[in-house]
Amino acid sequence: MKTLVQRIKQLAAEVGRDVQFMEVCGTHTMAAFRSGLPRLLPDSVRLISGPGCPVCVTDTNYIDAAIALCRRPDVIVATFGDLVRVPGSESSLEQERAAGATVRIVYSPSNALALARECPAKQVVFLGIGFETTAPTVAWSIWKAAKDGLANYSVLCAHKTMPHAMEALLKDHAVKIDGFMCPGHVSVITGAQLYRFICEEYRIPCVVSGFEPWDMLKTIAMLLAQVAEGRAEVEVEYSRSVSEQGNQAAQRLMDEVFEECDVSWRGIGTIPRSGLQLRPQYAAFDAAHRLGMRFSEARVHPGCRCGDVLRGVLTPPACQLFGTACTPLHPFGPCMVSAEGTCAAYFKYEKRAAA
């Protein structure tokens, strides 16, 4: 039996040209990096990192709004841990916590709900970040708060969805993507049918991948096979967790609480219909509505080339900020904010090559 790496080499030779596959899930980025997978691939096959880290694509104006909230003495901000380091225009939640603001790290929106019950005198605002894997869990917390009449819990919503973002990468821009490694856990919720339109309208192969290194290598082999055979289909490598239709209960809950909206992605700009906002009947649980928040205008930082890096058309050193103003310890855009984003990874590996 051949090993997967041997299969990939054989298929790459059959394809006979350079190919670039994109993964769009921060956990895939991490898993690939941790296992050293990209370096096992033949030179003609590159795995590049798209805008798959929901924390890293959270725009500056959202962080600024969260900061404004946490500075209020009547508010406790509850958040997933990875958001605290993301820079706003002048500060970050980590810095605000150091200056005395109440910022609590939680592992689940249900923890934030429990916090609201424990602190009836404070407004608990949960920072709703994440793609379709996380959105149902936040939707549940809002639905439960509404059902129980909890008056001091709300969500500052920045949820984003994958399909329109993937489409935005392909439309109107120079991009070189020969196939998508599709996010495994988003697909557990949405079902693999989510990616059909990419194959049908853009003729790009899509394979839904699990997170073990074995899964990801198998996915790359499947993508190469599609390219070699001239196919563009949705295939599921992660069949143990992903079905065509997904988790219907989770989808119903999301649909009950959220509706589509236009939203800005850090380093890219506004992508139409790629965000989620609370439906009017749940407006009371929208922190922006309840606490009278106004978002400043989202703008891409001048000089930040993350958009082009995320589309796979620019390598990090070509960005003027790379390694000077923008470094892993003091990052600007998502490609550096993410510990294994394209720029952060490049930074590490260039150091290695020079050492």
Binding site: L37, L40, E94, A98, H330, K348, K351
Partner: protein, 336 residues
């Protein structure tokens, strides 16, 4: 964005700590004795080489499976001396107590200190007590200083590590950090993992008695194995290659890390250490280590190489390769 205030990460033992030391402490205080920045300073007094170290303990919660802040205070300090090849002799013990701390808790901690100190033959010779108002120090903080007599012929030091050395680890990773975290409120997981908190001098003594050339030793506390190997690679200007298949991590620790999204290589240990010696002497060292309960799982986990200088590479279980970085530091506050 420049940091205008101290962040939790500055205490994490990783990149932020290194930045703080470089930008705030060294410019003011640098001198040849401080410069190695090893676990202990090596001092010579009347021809006798001594190791001198200091530590503070702020672990939260105070009592955890496998130990408490008192036991940790003795072990941590004694281990810093042992890492410099020094037999621990004397400790100072300084308490900062919060108004309202139950006396029973304090007595329990002091008793723990007594038992641990006696087990390794170190004496508390001086102390201090301060009390601050309620709300100003979360129960109690402990500060120690330790003095030991260096018995190794050549005091181990991180700058001494040459290419060709073997990297040895005495046992399983991540136990202290996971045990402490499991007791933290709000995280809500439970586990049977207990802290590995233990004094390492008796094991180190056995190793030194073999006469093997020990170039350096380092205990991977805050920042875990990752911080420790990165520090050594950086100080010695060498490369270090580790093999993921050789790293001892038990399933429960891995399970806790998977659940919380943590990397076992960045989690604190309090009864483990790395040892660097010539590859030809590794077997001799391992044979001695495995005689002792704290060394029964000892093994070679990697090697020191010439390039890439100052970096640590990991050969992964699937045969890939990745860089092990200095962790930034804020994942796990108040772990020691």
């Amino acid at each position: 964005m420049k940091h205008e205030r101290i962040l939790l990460g500055h205490g994490g033992g990783g990149a932020l700590t290194r930045e703080l030391i470089a930008q705030c402490f060294l410019p003011a205080l640098q001198n040849p004795l401080l410069q190695p920045l090893d676990d202990s300073a090596v001092l010579t007094v009347a021809g006798q080489r001594l190791a001198f170290t200091t530590d503070s303990y702020v672990v939260q919660p105070r009592f955890f499976p496998g130990g408490d802040i008192g036991k940790l205070a003795v072990c941590g300090t004694v281990n810093d001396l042992a890492m410099q090849g020094a037999e621990p002799l004397w400790l100072s013990l300084s308490f900062i107590l919060e108004e309202g701390l139950p006396l029973a808790d304090l007595k329990r901690i002091v008793d723990s200190i007594r038992v641990t100190a006696a087990s390794v033959g170190v004496t508390v010779v001086t102390g201090d007590t301060k009390v601050v108002e309620r709300g100003h120090c979360d129960g109690l903080f402990i500060n120690t200083a330790g003095i030991g007599r260096i018995v190794a012929n050549e005091p181990p030091g991180s700058a001494r590590v040459p290419p060709g050395d073997a990297v040895i680890l005495n046992g399983f990773l991540g136990e202290h950090g996971v045990a402490v975290l499991s007791q933290r409120e709000g995280i809500g997981f439970s586990t049977r993992v207990t802290s590995d908190c233990a004094p390492l001098w008796p094991l180190v003594k056995l190793i030194l008695e073999t006469g093997a050339e020990v170039h350096a030793m380092r205990d991977p506390t805050r920042g875990g194995l990752a911080a420790a190997v990165c520090d050594i690679a950086h100080a010695a200007g060498v490369g270090i290659r580790l093999d993921e298949r050789a790293l001892p991590i038990n399933r429960e620790v891995q399970g806790a890390c998977d659940l919380l999204g943590l990397d076992p290589l960045t989690i604190a240990n309090e009864g483990k250490f790395l040892l660097f010696c010539p590859a030809s002497q590794a077997d001799r060292v391992l044979a001695a280590m495995r005689q002792h309960p704290l060394g029964k799982d000892a093994r070679v986990i990697g090697e020191v190489v010439d390039k890439p200088k100052g970096m640590v590479l990991l050969r992964t279980t699937i045969g890939g390769e990745r860089i092990i970085d200095l962790p930034t530091g804020e994942d796990l506050p108040r772990i020691c």
